[in-house]
Each structure stands twice: as structure tokens, then as C-alpha cells.
């Protein structure tokens, strides 16, 4: 990723539909060649944001700037942007070749050049033998690749993808995920990708922008947003997590002790930004929780409890643990190479975790 001038700047953009605010003062920068994910639950404003970048919606306020040019009033056909729709929107009456040539035709590219470039784009997505087919004669994955080739071919400034894998089945989706990422790297095109699938985002993104209720909550690399969420919603939306609320009762050096509900104490490392009396949300990922029959040594947080529910997930097991003497349900996951979960419903165990693995969010 080159840290030059951003290709795309979204500056305090707001979109209102009547009295409903779909996108609320969202600011975002996307750099050259970057693969940025916009992620959030349905109705969070991610698709509206994407459509505003593409020119399919006009912002109520704020600016969309592409390569230093304010785009708000530029009609979508003059923007040089490539959009891949969830339904692919392939023209059913044109062959694959004609579909791919379309964007070049509107740009007045000569016929012979058009032909060559379309072939090149189709070769890139490995569809060069199907150029005479109609979309109705293609499989889902092939249509998806035509939709990509069709916009890559005219070298848009930005590639916009709206849930491009949502219409594929699970197996194909996993294959296309890898292919899409490879293709993006090969072409080096700046890409904004909208999805509600956190797995997709974590595995493919350079950076992830998490949205909820029209607000942009956090932007960061996958590991940043996963490991250091700055918002309780971000923590719960990406991956599984258990959250508690509590008050800081004492601070010693870079270690704080937090009293959570039910008389429990959780010890966490902090960045010198908390003080006694602060209210925090504490969260802990299930895979960071260790479980054992006997109390472990040299671990900072240890809680005794009873297994309330076991969820068998093949590669690992997820336990729901009722912590003794309080009303807290803790999630813990255990890799099970043997294929059998160690504990069963009703088992007594100790759950523990390192103080470095606790995520805290100031309220």
C-alpha cells in the first residue's frame, strides 16, 4: 500500500431519505491500490455510501472527491468508476464479449482495440473461451467473473463491489474470495467492497471500515479492528466475543483492575488512558480463553464455572460457561484436533485468560 495522496476522499458525507438519515457524516480515505471493505449489518448505510461514491445517489451534504476532483454533481456516466452489482447486472441480450466491450464503446474506443482489450480482460478472469456465450448460458461463478472483467477492462479509477459473492454458494464463495483478492493485487486497482460477511472482510481486506446505523465506527487493518476494537459494536460484530461492563477500581502502572457485575474482578493492561472510576466495556474473544479442569498457574484472570451448553463446530468446540456466583455467561472455544470436545454439559472447569488479551472500550 502506497501512502500517497488518497484516490478517494469521502468528506463528512450525509445522506437523508426524507427524515431518515441513512448515512451520517461519514469521512473516509482510500489510497491507491488499496482494498477497502465497508462492513456492517443490513441497513447500516454501507450500500448507500457505496452508491454515493459510484454516483447512483447524491449526498445530502458533504463531498465525494476522486483524484482531487469533487464528484457530487458529476453524473455517473462521467465518473470512470467500475461497479459490480450483487445481481451482476449483465446485459442478457449481449454476448460475454459484447458485455465486456460495452464500457469501451461508451468511451469511443476503436473496434479493433476494443476487441483486443476485451480479450485481455477475459483472459485475466480466465473466461477467454466463453466470449460468444450469452449470460443465461453461464454458471454463477462465470457471470461473476464477466461482471468483473466488464469493469476492469476500461481501467476505472475505483472498483466498487456490492456484495459480489452473496449470490454464490458457500464453496464457490470461498474459491472466488481467493481469486478476487489475487485479481485485485494483479490489476492493482483501488477497490471498495461492501459486505455484511465479516469472514470475507477479515480474510481479504487491506483495511476494514465498520458501519452501524449510518455512522462510521472504526477504520483499520483487519487485525486492528479484530484485536483492538474501539467500539463495543465493532467488537461484537467482528467475530464472537463476551462483553461485560464494569468500573475501574484501581490503576497500577499499565495494569488496571475492573470490577464487573456480580462481584468479579478483571485485570487488564491499558494504554494509560484510564483512571479509577471510569466506566468500561470489557470484552474477551472465545479463542483467547483457556479452559482447564484444575486452576492454571501464572494466569491473570481465572474464573471457576460450569458448562451450560456445548456447540460442536467440527474443528473446534464452543462452550457457554456459567461463571460461579454471578450472572455472567462466558464463551470459550477449544480447538479439538481429536474431534471430541473435552467437556460436556454440566462439567466443572476453570476459565482463564492473559491480561494482554482483554479488550476494553471506554464509554
Amino acid at each position: 500500500m502506497t501512502e500517497s495522496e488518497p484516490v478517494l476522499k469521502v468528506v463528512e458525507v450525509t445522506k437523508e431519505f426524507g427524515s431518515a438519515v441513512a448515512v451520517n457524516k461519514v469521512s473516509l480515505e482510500v489510497y491507491d491500490g488499496e482494498f477497502l471493505f465497508l462492513i456492517g449489518p443490513s441497513g447500516c448505510g454501507k450500500t448507500t455510501t457505496l452508491r454515493m461514491i459510484g454516483g447512483y445517489e447524491t449526498p445530502t451534504s458533504g463531498e465525494i472527491i476522486i483524484r482531487d476532483r469533487v464528484m457530487n454533481n458529476v453524473p455517473l456516466d462521467k465518473r470512470n468508476i467500475g461497479m459490480v452489482f450483487q445481481s451482476y447486472a449483465l446485459f442478457p441480450h449481449m454476448t460475454v464479449q459484447k458485455n465486456v466491450e460495452f464500457g469501451l464503446k461508451t468511451r469511443g474506443v476503436r473496434k479493433s482495440e476494443r476487441h483486443d482489450r476485451a480479450r485481455e480482460a477475459l483472459r485475466l478472469v480466465e473466461l477467454e473461451k466463453l466470449e460468444d456465450r450469452f449470460p443465461s448460458q453461464l454458471s454463477g461463478g462465470q457471470r461473476q467473473r464477466v461482471a468483473l472483467a466488464r469493469v476492469i477492462v476500461y481501467e476505472p479509477d475505483i472498483l466498487l463491489l456490492d456484495e459480489p459473492l452473496a449470490n454464490l454458494d458457500k464453496r464457490l464463495r470461498d474459491v472466488m474470495r481467493v481469486e478476487l483478492r489475487k485479481l485485485q493485487e494483479k490489476v492493482g486497482i483501488t477497490t471498495v467492497y461492501v459486505t455484511h460477511d465479516q469472514e470475507e472482510a477479515l480474510s481479504m481486506a487491506d483495511r476494514i471500515a465498520v458501519m452501524e446505523g449510518g455512522n462510521l465506527l472504526q477504520v483499520g487493518t483487519p487485525s486492528e479492528v479484530y484485536n483492538c476494537p474501539q467500539d463495543a459494536f465493532v467488537a461484537t460484530f467482528l467475530g464472537e466475543t463476551t462483553s461485560f461492563r464494569g468500573d475501574v477500581e484501581s490503576v497500577t502502572g499499565d495494569i488496571a483492575s475492573v470490577a464487573v457485575e456480580g462481584g468479579l474482578h478483571v485485570i487488564t493492561r491499558h494504554n494509560h488512558d484510564v483512571s479509577t472510576g471510569d466506566r468500561l466495556t470489557i470484552s474477551i474473544r472465545p479463542e483467547r480463553v483457556q479452559i482447564s479442569e484444575t486452576p492454571p498457574e501464572q494466569v491473570d484472570n481465572v474464573l471457576p464455572g460450569t458448562v451450560d451448553f456445548v456447540e460442536y463446530l467440527g474443528a473446534h468446540a464452543l462452550y457457554l460457561i456459567r461463571v460461579d456466583n454471578c450472572d455472567i455467561m462466558l464463551q470459550a472455544s477449544e480447538p479439538i484436533p481429536s474431534g471430541k470436545a473435552t467437556f460436556s454439559k454440566g462439567s466443572r472447569l476453570f476459565a482463564s485468560w492473559n491480561l494482554d488479551h482483554v479488550v476494553y472500550i471506554r464509554e
Partner: protein, 319 residues
Amino acid sequence: MATAAATALQEEDGYRAGWFERLAPYYKYLLLAPMGLMLIGFFAWPLLWLFRVSLYESRGSSGFGIGGAKGQEGGGFYVEGTWTLDNYIRIFSDEYFQDIMIFTVEFAILVTIVTMLLAYPMAYYIYKAGPRLKVILLILVILPKLSNMLVLVYGLQILLANNGLVNELLLLLGIVDEPVKLVYNLVSMTVSKVLLIIPYTILVITATLHGLDPTLRDAAQGMGASPAETFFSVTFPLSLPGTFVALLITIVWALGAFVSPALLGNPDLQTLAVEVPKQTFENVNWAVGSAIAFIMLAMMSLVVLIYNWILSSRMPWRA
């Protein structure tokens, strides 16, 4: 509750299907039976019978009144038990009928062209209109079809008369110096026939446009196509299948034109449809009447066949 459930279960054990349940595998045929009866008994069979009647010898003499009881010698509208091609030979060799046949086709082509030229833009206008205006326009478009065609003809007779509103307007605007003859000629025939057909044409095209995936338009513009380019490269070609259906309906109805030539035309501008009741009732010659009706049917079937051929061979992407 528990005992009731138990009883129900016991009944389940010794469950005997009633006659209604036992017919279950045949429900769909039973449900389709009334329609089948209607379609076969009062549509398909009459059309076949129409062909049979057209092969009877005609009575020849012009009848006095209605032609007497069935099977009675000297009465009837055709000679029973005969087989002949005379009626067709007569129609195809007689200059009078030849003229009518040619004019029927010419008139149908004229009406179809005018209808399509007006219907497509109107359908597109409705498609582009806001939701409220759209409903109002749709109601206004359907209205002529839901009202009596004689009321429309009556209104047009008044409107297009020499002292009618249209002529007054033309005089007022100074386009003409004296009233133009607009009624009882090709103008009034075309104006009325188009009005009688066009609501369906517009509805079919509007429905087609609404059935198009709007993201295709978005995609085209996103790839740099101007609104005009988008229309001509995406919207219009994709609306063609539905537009062809509209065209088909228009041609078929235009070929069957009856009211317009009968009430707003003149003796030189007559169609086959007008000739059917004329032969049947005025000349009491059912055989010739049937033959003409059958020729109309054949013309329409030919149009449908051509349409099917175009559909299967010219639009491979619809497969």
C-alpha cells in the same frame, strides 16, 4: 385436551378417506374441467365447425328474412351434407372480395404502424413518470378500453364532423381555410381503430418496461453510457420481446377491424370483418360468411406463426 388428542390419533389409525379425498389425484383435472369444456365446446369446436360450414354449398338465392327451420328443403343458410371449395374460389377470384382482402391488410398495417409509433413513447412516458402520475395515466389509458366502443365512436363522429371541435380548432389556428373532411374516410377509421387498440398495446409495453431489471440501466450508465446510449443499447433492445407481443396483439386486432370501417368508413373502405355479417345476415349466406371469417383466422394465425419464428430464431439470448 389430552383425551381429545388421543381420540383424534385413534381415528387416524382407522382413517378412511371420504369420496372427496379419494378424488385428490384428479383435483387438477376436475378444476380444469369447466375451462376445458368452455375452450373446447365453445371455442375450439366452433372454430372447427366454422371451417366445416365454409365448405357447405351456399343456398344461392338471397333469402327472405331468416332462412327457415333446420333440414327443411328450400330453407336453411347452407346446403347440409355438401362439400365444396366454391366459397373460397369465389372469394379469391371475385374482384370485390379481392379488393376487400387487400384493403384489410393495408389498413391493418397502417393502424399497426400508427399504434406502435404512439404507444411506445407513451408507455415509456408512463414508465418514467412518478408514482402518482403513473396511476392517473394508467387509469386514463385503460379508460377507453373499459368504456363502450360505440360511445367512443359516437364521440369521434361528433369531434371530427365538419363543424366539429377539431375542424374549428384547425380553422382557428389558420391551418386550413375551410373545414376538412375528417369523418367517414381513412382518417376517422384510423383514429378510431387506433384508439380501440392502443390501451392494450401501451399496457403491455409499460408492463415490459417495468419488468426490466433497473440495475441494468444503472450498470450501463456506470460504465459510461449517456442516458440516450443507455436507452438504445439496453432499455430498448431488452423491451423488444414485450414490444413484439404488443405488436402481435395490435396486428391481430387491426386485421379484425369491424366498428371503424362499419361506422366511420365508407363503402369503398370496407374490411373482411364487415363483410362477415353482411354475407351472413343480409345475403343469408352462412357458408360465405364462415369462409371469410376463416380467411381472417388464417391471416391471424400466419401472423402468430411469423412471430413465433422471429422469437425463436432472432432472440437466442432469451433461451
